[in-house]
């Protein structure tokens, strides 16, 4: 029976090459697009799923009550305290990445970026395959465990276990002994390491920075990530409750922070509210991309339904004969369903090939590497197959149930049935396809206009002609550098700052309201050098700016923005004191961060210790002129550091890069959806033109001109596009309003966006339809009427 079906299917497709071609093209494009998106989505969801104990592994989070922020820094001592005080905890380790760690190969030191300083138990918590006994493997302070890749790099063609290697830790040469080699950690793990060393190595730099000697027992230095493995069946809530006692016992009577647990499986995708949480995924992107994939698939499936109902007139006879030969409704349905599943499965290899070809371009577009992760391969295969079969079923479902229910007598009498219901369904599917396209187009236009708006918006300071030079940490001679470049003609002004504008991170403190001391206001901070406000063109509207004429500015002077004055409830602010600082001036409000967020209350201080950027205000059009000068001066003053700079225009562009990418991605999918829908429409008009030859012939005999016949075809289609464009308005409005709500400053949704979508869609549709309607209008009426 199967063979019989297969033969009919193949021969039917062979005879209806257009139908087959359009469906194969549309399906393979849609499948390829969704395969790429699914590759991304599956990878995102697969993070940390490879660890056997993942359900019992937790990361300790640390919430500061005053700032209402949660982060993952915890004290060094926490892991030991947890192990001794909590019987529910099987294992606990602290971990911190080493800065500037390198290992010696021949005569050269090579940086090892992901050197994790931790304890032996890390191998008990994470089941990373290890060559060597995990127990106590890192207990010796000079132990080192290398990843396979690093081991092959530093010890080519030999067994490194037991060998010695010289490394640089904390700026000094040290001797390490390789105790083991672990399998390279897959990319879909949030714990990443090139090597593991003993945790004690991280104590010294922290002690130094903070001028203490007790970082190993200090409960205030939150610089380590703590991982724990709970015993089987332990509820995290029960452990978290006991954390309260731990905090009171070790931190203070009234602890300013509290610890909580986050399961490993939540680490990658559910860390949005956690600051500095390192590697994390973006659930919003996953949703947007999955939705686009779904829509593309929908458009392709609709194509199948539209075309197969259109060509079904050729199948009805077969169905009728099969029925009189004793086929049940079920058998016919299964045959037709099998046919559409077969078609989509036949397209599968083509789609996979297309996806592989398009992968590098997609990587650029998504701005992420799209890995084919070996442990995920069964999942890819399963999901791709499943998707393909589901598409086949979904697109075949309507046609099969429709055709299998047809009345045999009418089929065998008339040969074909073209019911009203059928064409209504076809047109509504086309409308939905066009709604998807129009929404995509007007959506992209809105994203683009918001992007342009973000680039152009007056931020309250100069957003052009500013060059930002990155000093890096501890650049002691920045004043020498600033003074040396200031004297050049095209450089108007230059000043140091801790963060350039727009600022990426944030620092904040809680300051009591002046009217009501009990009410504390979160005020953000910005640390700058002399002349920074002038360089950026931020106007001081009351009092004065920082000035070298007043010696105390560096220590005790502060400047607020208008928002801070208002929220803190200060009247006559100049001269008032906040803590040790005196308010010397008020600046006009400016956008501290990107326009995603509102202007916060802001306190500007001076600093000479943390200056990491130099902002240079130059005469417009002279960038190429001043760049070599600035670089030349840099080479003189800091020859050992690399010269890194960025213009403020580029910095702003970078900030909104994700918006730009999103608009590109959606544009591409819009083109896809229109292309696929146009294929469908092209096929459909061909069939309609064919079935209407008799009508056209009669009309021509009665004196209708070719023009009116073409017009009648076009009119029908324009109405459809118009309906689709109208329906797209509320849909787009709803989703784009949600998207725009991420911004504090946003464009309004312009009516023109919808008009443009309508114009594009109608142009494409008209051109698609024009071809066949022109051909249909040219038929010889004698031929057309002989046809019956």
């Amino acid at each position: 029976m199967f063979k019989n079906y297969l033969k009919t299917t193949l021969r039917f497709l062979k005879q209806n090459k257009l139908f087959a071609g359009i469906n194969i093209l549309g399906l393979s494009l849609a499948l390829a697009a969704s395969f790429i998106i699914l590759l991304f989505v599956i990878n995102e969801f697969s993070y940390d799923q490879g660890y056997k104990n993942r359900k019992q592994i937790y990361r300790v989070l640390n919430t500061y009550h005053e700032f209402k922020t949660t982060q993952l820094g915890t004290p060094y001592v926490l892991a030991s305290a947890l192990k001794s005080d909590f019987p529910q905890i099987e294992h606990a380790v602290r971990a911190r990445n080493m800065r500037g760690f390198s290992l010696k190969m021949k005569d050269e030191f090579i940086s090892v970026y992901r050197a994790v300083a931790t304890d032996s138990e890390i191998f008990d918590i994470f089941d990373i395959p290890l060559n060597g006994a995990p127990k106590g493997i890192l207990d010796n302070p000079n132990s080192i465990v290398l990843s396979k890749k690093q081991a092959e790099k530093f010890f080519p063609d030999q067994n490194p276990v037991g060998k010695e290697i010289i490394g640089i830790a904390n700026g000094k040469e040290q001797l390490f002994v390789v105790e083991g080699v672990f399998d390279d950690i897959p990319v879909n793990s949030t714990l990443q390491a090139d090597c593991f060393i003993n945790g004690k190595w991280t104590l010294e730099p922290i002690n130094q920075t903070f001028g203490v000697t007790n970082a190993d027992v200090n409960w205030d230095l939150d610089f380590w990530t703590t991982w724990v493995l709970l015993k089987k069946g332990i509820e995290p809530a029960s452990v978290e409750n006991q954390f309260r006692n731990l905090e009171v016992k070790n931190i203070s009577e009234n602890p300013p922070k509290s610890y909580s647990l986050q399961n490993l499986t939540d680490v990658y995708l559910r860390s949005n509210n956690i600051m500095n949480s390192g590697m994390k995924g973006n659930m919003k992107n996953i949703r947007i991309f999955s939705a686009t994939a779904f829509l593309i698939i929908l458009v392709a499936a609709f194509n199948y339904i539209i075309l197969s109902t259109a060509v079904s007139s050729g199948r009805t006879k077969e169905v009728g004969i099969r029925k009189t030969s004793g086929a049940e409704v079920k058998a016919i349905r299964n045959q037709l369903l099998g046919e559409s599943v077969f078609l989509s499965l036949a397209v599968l290899p083509l789609a996979v090939a297309l996806a592989l070809i398009a992968k590098p371009y997609a990587e650029k577009l998504f701005q992420t590497k799209l890995y084919i992760i070996s442990t995920n391969i069964p999942v890819y295969i399963l999901i791709y197959l499943l998707l393909t079969v589901v598409i086949g079923l979904a697109s075949g479902l309507y046609t099969s149930s429709y055709l299998s229910q047809l009345n045999i007598i009418s089929i065998l009498k008339n040969g074909s049935v073209s019911g009203r219901r059928k064409s209504l369904l076809r047109w509504s599917l086309i409308v939905i396809q066009l709604v998807i396209f129009c929404s995509f187009i007007s959506g992209t236009l809105i994203i683009r206009s918001q992007y342009k708006f973000a680039l152009k918006k007056d931020l309250g300071y100069q957003n052009k002609n500013i060059l930002l030079v990155d000093l890096g940490r501890n650049f002691k001679d920045y004043t020498v550098f600033i003074n040396s470049i200031k004297s050049f003609p095209n450089i108007k002004m230059a000043a140091g700052t801790m963060d350039g504008l727009p600022m990426m991170g944030s620092m904040s403190s809680m300051i009591p309201n002046f009217q009501d001391q009990s009410q504390k206001i979160k005020v953000e901070g910005l640390a700058v050098d002399y002349n920074f406000l002038e360089t950026m063109g931020i106007p001081v509207i009351q009092g004065r700016s920082f000035s070298e004429e007043f010696g105390a500015d560096l220590e005790n002077s502060i400047i607020l923005n208008e928002k801070a004055v208002e929220q803190l409830g200060i009247t006559d602010p100049v001269g008032k004191k906040i803590g040790n600082g005196t308010i010397i001036g008020i600046v006009k409000d400016f956008n501290l961060h990107s326009i995603h967020s509102d202007i916060p209350p802001l306190m500007i201080n001076m600093t000479d210790r943390y200056i990491q950027q130099v902002a240079i205000n130059y005469t417009p059009g002279t960038l190429s002129n001043i760049l070599p000068i600035v670089e030349g001066e840099w080479k003189k003053i800091a020859p050992e550091r690399s010269f890194q700079y960025q213009t403020i225009e580029n910095l702003i562009k970078d900030i909104y890069a994700s918006e730009k990418n999103l608009s590109i991605i959606i544009t591409i999918f819009a083109v896809f959806s229109l292309l696929i829908a146009a294929f469908g429409l092209f096929g459909l008009t061909l069939f309609i033109a064919k079935t209407r030859t008799k009508e056209i012939g009669v009309k021509k005999v009665l004196g209708s001109s070719e023009k009116t016949i073409i017009y009648s075809f076009l009119k029908e289609n324009i109405v459809i596009v118009f309906i689709a464009a109208l329906l797209a308005i509320p849909v787009t409005y709803y989703f784009m309003n949600r998207w725009l709500s991420n911004f504090s400053y946003k464009v309004s949704i312009n009516f023109w966006f919808f008009v443009i979508a309508f114009i594009i869609a109608s142009t494409v549709v008209l051109f698609t339809v024009l071809f066949h309607s022109y051909r249909a209008s040219r038929i010889n009426p004698v031929e057309a009427l002989k046809y019956e």
């Binding site: 009919t8 006879k317 077969e318 099969r322 004793g326 049940e328 007598i409 040969g415």
Partner: protein, 228 residues
Amino acid sequence: MIQLKKIDKYYDAKFQRTFILKGVNLEVKQGEFVTIMGPSGAGKSTLLNIIGLLDEPSAGEYYFWDEPAHKIKEKQKVQYHRSHIGFIFQAFHLIDELNVYENIETPLVYRSVKGKERKAMVADLLDRFNMVAKKDLFPSQLSGGQQQLVAIARAIIGSPKLLLADEPTGNLHSEQGEMIMKLLKKLNEEGMTIIQVTHNEDFAQYGTRVVKLIDGLIREDYQVENRK
């Protein structure tokens, strides 16, 4: 074998009921070759469709092998189509995508006959109809008469008890039509019950009995005397 009692078939339009068949009583015995004749629109095809279980009467009783066919379910109808009834049509209705061999094979597929057995049955029939050389051709490559031959072969491959033919010669020129009628007669002589609808007085002479239908009523019912 077939017994129709007061069969009505009508369509309800807005204000009036249009009768296609009215009070038709007909009994067909096994081994008969009945020709239904009548002008266009007399209800011949409708009657044939009701007999073939493709259509349902609006009123009346229909016994097919003493089973009340007006009451049986869809599933059982499918069973009858598989094993008891074969159809041939004026427009041949072959499946365009299948070749001669595969077209003939189709009913066996639905009867889950094993592949080997199927092959033997089809080969046997092809031989009998002198069509072995044409077994790989598609319907569009055959003449009308040949197509109808294939259609008959397909209709009888499951050795049905009853063969229904709706103007089997309507699309053929007279020579081919005669060939088809001779074949039907031969099948009848071998024991198959046949009911055909035709306009052609000459071709009615190949049967054993003629039923004349006018405006949904049986006006004449007689045995053929000088059977061709």
